[in-house]
């Protein structure tokens, strides 16, 4: 299974994502620059955290028009697995590949600490190795992570089971309905503010994020008729 980690100007979690793929599932992974115009060789695309284009105008606003994003759109439509983390989530919402938007934390502070999440939807390609309702420990690090959708869209998200993660304890940013991550209707595109790639070994404080990577490998293997791994 081939992974791409996208690199925009001022991405800064790209190395973490790359290493997380190597360390958790040992699959081939490449850094792919924002100018790339062909992602056809990749089965999964990771859009890492950071401050793409300096977060000018709005987080992710300018990155959504990078050449590589046309390919990401194609990959999403083709059902390939796409995970946006933090700034990657912001880019996916700006690109309208995921619903909603991420706005300034209600505290106005950059919040950087571990957070307990509830796995609300364990049927996505990235969350199938978790139990529904399981509590996991994944760090957050963001200043603009308050998820916003209007009431109508929120009802739709609930009806279509698109809420993937919620904050379990204190809501760190003022997100609507404590939402920490969502997916598209088809479940192949997931976005989340917390950083699973920073929680792949107990030495990092938690290894709860590792199963997002084993999940997607199993989802891919199942799709391609190969034996699944634990």
């Amino acid at each position: 299974m081939n992974f791409a980690v996208l690199v925009f100007p001022a991405s800064n979690c790209d190395i973490d994502c790359f290493k997380a793929v190597e360390d958790t599932i040992g699959q081939p992974v490449d850094y792919v620059f924002h100018t790339a115009t062909d992602l056809s060789q990749y089965d999964a695309i990771l859009i890492p955290g950071g401050f793409s284009y300096g977060d000018y105008l709005r987080c992710g606003a300018i990155a959504q028009f990078a050449p590589v994003m046309a390919e990401v759109r194609k990959a999403a439509e083709a059902g390939k697995f796409i995970l946006g983390i933090c700034n990657g989530f912001q880019i996916l919402t700006e690109a309208r590949l995921l619903p909603g938007a991420l706005i300034r934390n209600n505290s106005l502070k950059f919040r950087c600490h571990s957070a307990d999440l509830i796995v609300e939807n364990n049927s996505t390609a990235f969350t199938r190795a978790y139990r529904a309702g399981e509590m996991i420990d994944i760090p957050i690090a963001h200043g603009e992570g308050s998820y916003y959708v209007d009431d109508e869209t929120l009802a739709q998200l609930k009806a279509d089971n698109q809420i993937v993660f919620r904050y379990a304890g204190e809501n760190p940013n003022g997100s609507v309905d404590n939402i920490a991550g969502v997916c598209n209707k088809e479940g192949n595109v997931v976005g989340m503010m917390p950083h699973p790639e920073r929680a792949v070994h107990e030495l990092l404080g938690s290894e709860d994020g590792a199963r997002m990577f084993t999940s997607v490998l199993n989802a891919w293997r199942e799709r391609h008729g190969a034996a699944s791994v634990r």
Binding site: L57, A61, I62, F65, E94, I103, N106, S107, Y148, G174
Partner: protein
């Protein structure tokens, strides 16, 4: 031709920056201050003589990039 674009946060979306500025103004003694909302103001020079076409293209800029219509409203003025 010059365009002035005003981007504001939708009424039903929280504006924590506006709330903080409101608090500061109250602390400073400006007790008459009610709600404060913070937005963005942009000046854009357009190299076009056709006002109608210029306006249509400006709307496209607003819809695609300058505002995120999930959370923001925009309005504009065209000069010249």
């Amino acid at each position: 031709m010059k365009a002035k674009v005003f981007v504001t946060i939708k009424e039903n979306v929280l504006d924590p920056q506006g709330n903080a500025v409101q608090g500061a103004l109250h602390t400073m003694g400006f007790a008459e201050v009610g709600k404060v909302r913070i937005g963005k103001y942009m000046e854009i020079e357009l190299d076009t003589a056709d006002r109608n076409e210029g306006e249509q293209r400006l709307i496209a800029m607003c819809e695609k990039l300058l505002a995120n219509t999930v959370i923001e409203d925009y309005r504009y003025e065209l000069e010249g």
